[in-house]
């Protein structure tokens, strides 16, 4: 910048003014412009940050991007952040608490503008409370905002849709991990609806899909159980996630069981594998774009009015997406 100033025959202050859109004389503007071009000058943003103490970076901490739900969420978060002038630093935590903490530390060291996190650990208990923070899905410790979809209603909705489809025996399949707030809410919504309506319902569990061999073994066991205990055509299954639904579906098909004629399945998430194509299993769809929008909006507020912003608990509505795993020839 000093070089540019010398080349243009003005002072650094004037160059700074020019760069930041302040008023300079047209003549001066032109000569600065030429100097910049000639010297191939690019402003040094680290210096600017050091001075202004305000960063454009928002840290997005997410367990993985390699999954339709999270990659869609990442897409929307980035999009909404960009529209407000922020840049996203993507941090994949792999559900590793240590990694998450490292990322938060990095955020602090970089003096990042804020953090948006989908964390399944107790990350929030360890945040320096003066860095703006928004949690997605996982309940945080009360001093941070939360954006989530309405898991409980999603569970109820799944049960109701199965009921509409003449299911007699209801099953919920979740993972053995009892810490998942979202799973508990989905399960409760489902089971409560069943109980309140006199429907026969059970909870089944499988290992986390990250332990893939055990996971498949568990699914296999469940399939055997379902088939031995019930009449085909009576069974309706609601799974904690689409991932479970898919493996279950494949397993059933391999055994020659027809879906949806013999067993109906509703997943959760409404996975779309790209912006255009969805897996067409029936599912309770999360409003991913809205989740991103509210999370970013909330964070932005927090950043801009850090002294006086509202800590919100935002609970977004889900919807049922009919697919090939339910009989969709129903009248309401």
């Amino acid at each position: 910048m000093k070089d540019v100033a010398r080349e243009a025959g003005v002072s650094v202050g004037t160059v700074s003014n020019y760069i930041n859109g302040k008023k300079v004389r047209p003549v001066v503007a032109k000569s600065i412009e030429q100097a910049i071009k000639k010297l191939n000058y690019v402003v040094n943003n680290t210096a600017r940050l050091l001075k202004n103490n305000c960063s454009p970076f928002v840290i997005f901490v997410v367990p993985t991007v390699w999954s339709p739900y999270f990659s869609e969420l990442t897409f929307w978060i980035q999009k909404k952040l960009n529209s407000l002038g922020y840049k996203m630093i993507l941090c994949i935590s792999e559900n590793d608490y240590k990694l998450e903490k490292d990322y938060v530390k990095m955020a602090e060291e970089q003096r990042a503008a804020g953090i948006i996190s989908v964390s399944y650990s107790n990350l929030t208990t360890h945040i320096r409370s003066d860095i703006p923070f928004v949690s997605i899905e996982k309940e945080s410790t009360g001093i941070f905002p939360l954006v989530t979809s309405d898991n409980y209603s999603g569970g109820s909705l799944a049960a109701k849709e199965l009921q509409l489809r003449n299911v007699k025996r209801y099953y919920f399949i979740g993972t053995t991990n009892q810490d998942s707030v979202s799973m508990i809410a989905r399960r409760s919504g489902f089971m409560d609806y069943c109980h309140n309506n006199g429907l026969m319902a059970d909870v089944l569990t499988v290992a986390s899909s990250r332990k893939i061999s055990q996971f498949r073994k568990d699914i296999d066991k469940i399939v055997k159980k379902l088939l031995s205990e019930n009449n085909l055509g009576d069974i309706g299954v609601f799974t904690h996630t689409d991932e479970i639904a898919i493996v279950l579906l494949n397993e059933l098909r391999m055994k020659g069981i027809r879906v949806p004629e013999d067993i109906q399945i509703i997943g959760f998430d409404g996975w779309k594998i790209t912006e255009e194509d969805s897996l067409n299993i029936s599912s309770i769809r999360q409003p991913v774009d809205m989740i991103a929008e509210y999370a970013v909006k909330q964070l932005d507020e927090e950043i801009r009015y850090s002294d006086n912003f509202e800590i919100r608990r935002i609970n977004l509505p889900v919807s049922f997406i009919p697919g090939i795993t339910t009989n969709n020839d129903v009248r309401r």
Copy 2:
């Protein structure tokens, strides 16, 4: 830091030394440590960067993350970057040249360590050549390294696998966009193999999947054409991407055509929707983890030996993954 120094009764230089692991007297170390804890001090990395002029950030520019291939690639890039101590800034370009240029500008302003880009535009012609850069998939202008998978061999391999499965009529389906280097290579590999082996082959085109309604219309037209011109059982289709293969598959199934009995399909990419689950269509699989590894390794070299590194063209081998869209009861 000044505060810490005062609190600990030493000079800032000593604090700096302590933080950077230089030798200080144990007594001093302890008092600094206490001061840091007491004042809740976190180093300011922007200042450090300004001084050292070396950033941990690598910009990863990618058209989208919302697609199994790109989300897998993003996952691996992040993983490999982290293992070498870099942080990833994710930039989603949406195939928008303007956005891509903005991202490069940002990289320069941040004095980022480097850029890895999957770009389908001529981004590389506009890079200040002094920022380390690696291109994935798209041929760059010669002064930058390139990592890609062997698209040409992939095309040949697809043809060969279809030939093994007694296909008589060969079709390639690609998009109308003729700029895609990868598509041209895949197509050429396929067509060359067919011509060299006396196989009847044709090229068909569809609109980009981003123009979704036209895309589906084109697929529909193609299906009609395939069915009218050939005997069921003779037909083998190789698609430019798995995405096309999936839409085609759904369309065929809706029309009651059996896959693979009536028509066999091989896609390209080997989409895995999560680390555990794949779409099980037959496909030519890109070695995504290797692509990421080589790209990062190359970039790292470029960063560390900027004066003297080798500009490589890395071409990685692909493989055939049998799935449900080909008859896999073959002997070789």
